[in-house]
Subunit: 111 residues, 2 copies
Protein backbone atom coordinates (compact mmCIF):
# COMPACT_ATOMS: atom_id res chain seq x y z
CA UNK A 1 0.00 0.00 0.00
CA UNK A 2 1.43 3.34 -0.98
CA UNK A 3 1.89 5.89 1.75
CA UNK A 4 2.36 8.83 -0.59
CA UNK A 5 -0.32 10.39 -2.71
CA UNK A 6 -0.35 9.10 -6.26
CA UNK A 7 -0.24 11.74 -8.96
CA UNK A 8 -3.29 11.27 -11.13
CA UNK A 9 -3.99 13.12 -14.36
CA UNK A 10 -7.02 15.30 -13.88
CA UNK A 11 -6.32 15.89 -10.23
CA UNK A 12 -4.00 18.41 -8.62
CA UNK A 13 -0.54 17.12 -7.82
CA UNK A 14 2.40 18.40 -5.85
CA UNK A 15 3.14 21.92 -6.94
CA UNK A 16 0.41 22.17 -9.54
CA UNK A 17 -3.32 22.60 -9.31
CA UNK A 18 -3.86 22.50 -13.04
CA UNK A 19 -4.60 18.80 -13.24
CA UNK A 20 -2.81 18.58 -16.56
CA UNK A 21 -1.67 15.06 -17.33
CA UNK A 22 1.88 16.20 -17.94
CA UNK A 23 2.00 17.61 -14.43
CA UNK A 24 1.00 14.29 -12.99
CA UNK A 25 3.69 12.69 -15.11
CA UNK A 26 6.27 15.20 -13.93
CA UNK A 27 5.29 14.57 -10.34
CA UNK A 28 5.51 10.82 -10.74
CA UNK A 29 8.76 10.80 -12.69
CA UNK A 30 10.31 13.23 -10.27
CA UNK A 31 10.26 10.65 -7.52
CA UNK A 32 13.44 8.77 -6.88
CA UNK A 33 13.60 5.25 -8.32
CA UNK A 34 10.51 5.57 -10.48
CA UNK A 35 12.44 5.99 -13.71
CA UNK A 36 15.02 3.46 -12.68
CA UNK A 37 12.38 0.86 -11.96
CA UNK A 38 10.71 1.41 -15.30
CA UNK A 39 14.10 1.17 -16.93
CA UNK A 40 15.03 -2.08 -15.24
CA UNK A 41 11.69 -3.60 -16.16
CA UNK A 42 12.03 -2.69 -19.84
CA UNK A 43 12.98 -6.27 -20.63
CA UNK A 44 11.38 -9.17 -18.92
CA UNK A 45 9.49 -9.14 -15.61
CA UNK A 46 11.56 -9.24 -12.46
CA UNK A 47 10.80 -10.52 -9.01
CA UNK A 48 10.81 -8.13 -6.09
CA UNK A 49 14.25 -9.26 -5.03
CA UNK A 50 15.66 -9.25 -8.54
CA UNK A 51 14.34 -5.77 -9.09
CA UNK A 52 15.81 -4.64 -5.82
CA UNK A 53 19.19 -5.94 -6.85
CA UNK A 54 18.89 -4.45 -10.33
CA UNK A 55 18.29 -1.10 -8.68
CA UNK A 56 21.52 -1.29 -6.81
CA UNK A 57 20.09 -2.52 -3.55
CA UNK A 58 17.40 0.06 -3.00
CA UNK A 59 15.77 -0.40 0.37
CA UNK A 60 12.75 -2.66 0.23
CA UNK A 61 10.47 -0.19 1.94
CA UNK A 62 11.12 2.44 -0.69
CA UNK A 63 10.92 -0.08 -3.48
CA UNK A 64 7.63 -1.35 -2.21
CA UNK A 65 6.28 2.17 -2.02
CA UNK A 66 7.32 2.90 -5.58
CA UNK A 67 5.84 -0.35 -6.80
CA UNK A 68 2.59 0.76 -5.24
CA UNK A 69 2.82 4.12 -6.97
CA UNK A 70 3.50 2.49 -10.31
CA UNK A 71 0.73 -0.01 -9.89
CA UNK A 72 -1.79 2.70 -9.09
CA UNK A 73 -0.52 4.55 -12.12
CA UNK A 74 -1.18 1.39 -14.14
CA UNK A 75 2.37 1.32 -15.47
CA UNK A 76 3.37 -1.97 -13.93
CA UNK A 77 1.52 -5.03 -12.75
CA UNK A 78 2.27 -8.06 -10.71
CA UNK A 79 2.30 -11.10 -12.96
CA UNK A 80 3.04 -14.64 -12.01
CA UNK A 81 6.74 -14.11 -12.69
CA UNK A 82 7.08 -10.94 -10.72
CA UNK A 83 6.60 -7.37 -11.79
CA UNK A 84 6.28 -6.38 -15.40
CA UNK A 85 5.28 -3.38 -17.44
CA UNK A 86 1.71 -2.95 -18.55
CA UNK A 87 0.94 -1.94 -22.12
CA UNK A 88 1.00 1.71 -21.05
CA UNK A 89 4.21 1.18 -19.17
CA UNK A 90 5.87 -0.40 -22.15
CA UNK A 91 4.78 2.50 -24.30
CA UNK A 92 6.24 4.97 -21.86
CA UNK A 93 9.42 2.98 -21.82
CA UNK A 94 9.64 3.25 -25.57
CA UNK A 95 9.22 7.01 -25.40
CA UNK A 96 11.89 7.13 -22.80
CA UNK A 97 14.26 5.20 -24.99
CA UNK A 98 14.43 8.18 -27.29
CA UNK A 99 15.94 9.99 -24.36
CA UNK A 100 18.69 7.40 -24.26
CA UNK A 101 19.99 8.65 -27.56
CA UNK A 102 19.79 12.18 -26.35
CA UNK A 103 21.77 11.17 -23.27
CA UNK A 104 24.56 9.83 -25.47
CA UNK A 105 24.90 13.16 -27.18
CA UNK A 106 24.67 14.89 -23.85
CA UNK A 107 27.57 12.82 -22.56
CA UNK A 108 29.74 13.89 -25.47
CA UNK A 109 28.92 17.54 -25.02
CA UNK A 110 29.51 17.48 -21.29
CA UNK A 111 32.92 15.92 -21.19
Amino acid sequence: MAKTKIPTPGKPVRGSESGKPVMALIDLMGRRWILRILWELRGEPLTFRALQEACGGVSPSVLNGRLGDLREAALIEATGDGYGLTAMGRELGKEFEALTHWAEKWAKVLK
Copy 2:
Protein backbone atom coordinates in the same frame (compact mmCIF):
# COMPACT_ATOMS: atom_id res chain seq x y z
CA MET B 1 26.61 26.35 -5.64
CA ALA B 2 25.13 22.91 -5.65
CA LYS B 3 25.29 20.97 -2.42
CA THR B 4 24.42 17.62 -3.97
CA LYS B 5 26.58 15.65 -6.31
CA ILE B 6 25.80 16.24 -9.95
CA PRO B 7 25.14 13.15 -12.02
CA THR B 8 27.60 13.14 -14.86
CA PRO B 9 27.61 10.72 -17.77
CA GLY B 10 30.70 8.58 -17.59
CA LYS B 11 30.87 8.67 -13.83
CA PRO B 12 28.99 6.56 -11.29
CA VAL B 13 25.77 8.07 -10.00
CA ARG B 14 23.37 7.25 -7.23
CA GLY B 15 22.47 3.62 -7.45
CA SER B 16 24.57 2.81 -10.48
CA GLU B 17 28.27 2.33 -11.05
CA SER B 18 27.98 1.72 -14.76
CA GLY B 19 28.57 5.30 -15.81
CA LYS B 20 26.06 4.95 -18.60
CA PRO B 21 24.71 8.29 -19.74
CA VAL B 22 21.14 7.13 -19.32
CA MET B 23 21.83 6.41 -15.66
CA ALA B 24 23.07 9.93 -15.13
CA LEU B 25 19.93 11.15 -16.84
CA ILE B 26 17.73 8.96 -14.67
CA ASP B 27 19.48 10.23 -11.58
CA LEU B 28 19.10 13.84 -12.61
CA MET B 29 15.51 13.58 -13.73
CA GLY B 30 14.58 11.67 -10.62
CA ARG B 31 15.20 14.72 -8.49
CA ARG B 32 12.20 16.74 -7.52
CA TRP B 33 11.65 19.93 -9.51
CA ILE B 34 14.17 19.15 -12.22
CA LEU B 35 11.57 18.18 -14.78
CA ARG B 36 9.25 20.90 -13.68
CA ILE B 37 11.91 23.56 -14.06
CA LEU B 38 12.79 22.37 -17.54
CA TRP B 39 9.11 22.35 -18.36
CA GLU B 40 8.52 25.88 -17.13
CA LEU B 41 11.53 27.14 -19.05
CA ARG B 42 10.40 25.59 -22.31
CA GLY B 43 9.20 29.00 -23.50
CA GLU B 44 11.08 32.15 -22.75
CA PRO B 45 13.66 32.68 -19.99
CA LEU B 46 12.35 33.37 -16.51
CA THR B 47 13.85 35.25 -13.62
CA PHE B 48 14.55 33.41 -10.40
CA ARG B 49 11.39 34.75 -8.81
CA ALA B 50 9.23 34.17 -11.84
CA LEU B 51 10.48 30.61 -12.03
CA GLN B 52 9.83 30.12 -8.39
CA GLU B 53 6.25 31.26 -8.83
CA ALA B 54 5.81 29.16 -11.95
CA CYS B 55 6.86 26.15 -9.92
CA GLY B 56 4.11 26.73 -7.40
CA GLY B 57 6.24 28.50 -4.82
CA VAL B 58 9.04 26.00 -4.45
CA SER B 59 11.39 27.01 -1.70
CA PRO B 60 14.25 29.18 -2.93
CA SER B 61 16.92 27.02 -1.38
CA VAL B 62 15.78 23.97 -3.29
CA LEU B 63 15.25 25.97 -6.45
CA ASN B 64 18.70 27.39 -6.22
CA GLY B 65 20.14 23.94 -5.71
CA ARG B 66 18.36 22.61 -8.75
CA LEU B 67 19.42 25.56 -10.86
CA GLY B 68 22.97 24.71 -9.91
CA ASP B 69 22.43 21.10 -10.89
CA LEU B 70 20.97 22.08 -14.23
CA ARG B 71 23.71 24.55 -14.92
CA GLU B 72 26.40 22.01 -14.21
CA ALA B 73 24.54 19.66 -16.50
CA ALA B 74 24.64 22.38 -19.14
CA LEU B 75 20.89 22.28 -19.61
CA ILE B 76 20.17 25.82 -18.51
CA GLU B 77 22.18 28.99 -18.37
CA ALA B 78 21.82 32.38 -16.77
CA THR B 79 21.20 34.95 -19.45
CA GLY B 80 20.62 38.63 -18.99
CA ASP B 81 16.87 38.05 -18.71
CA GLY B 82 17.09 35.28 -16.16
CA TYR B 83 17.39 31.56 -16.68
CA GLY B 84 16.90 29.94 -20.04
CA LEU B 85 17.49 26.59 -21.69
CA THR B 86 20.72 25.89 -23.48
CA ALA B 87 20.69 24.22 -26.87
CA MET B 88 20.97 20.83 -25.18
CA GLY B 89 18.25 21.76 -22.75
CA ARG B 90 15.93 22.78 -25.51
CA GLU B 91 16.57 19.51 -27.27
CA LEU B 92 15.76 17.56 -24.15
CA GLY B 93 12.60 19.60 -23.78
CA LYS B 94 11.58 18.63 -27.27
CA GLU B 95 12.11 14.97 -26.50
CA PHE B 96 10.09 15.38 -23.38
CA GLU B 97 7.24 16.93 -25.30
CA ALA B 98 6.62 13.59 -26.92
CA LEU B 99 5.85 12.39 -23.44
CA THR B 100 3.14 14.99 -23.19
CA HIS B 101 1.16 13.18 -25.83
CA TRP B 102 1.70 9.93 -24.06
CA ALA B 103 0.44 11.54 -20.85
CA GLU B 104 -2.79 12.51 -22.56
CA LYS B 105 -3.45 8.93 -23.51
CA TRP B 106 -2.43 7.83 -20.06
CA ALA B 107 -4.99 10.18 -18.55
CA LYS B 108 -7.76 8.63 -20.63
CA VAL B 109 -6.78 5.12 -19.72
CA LEU B 110 -6.51 5.85 -16.04
CA LYS B 111 -9.86 7.48 -15.46
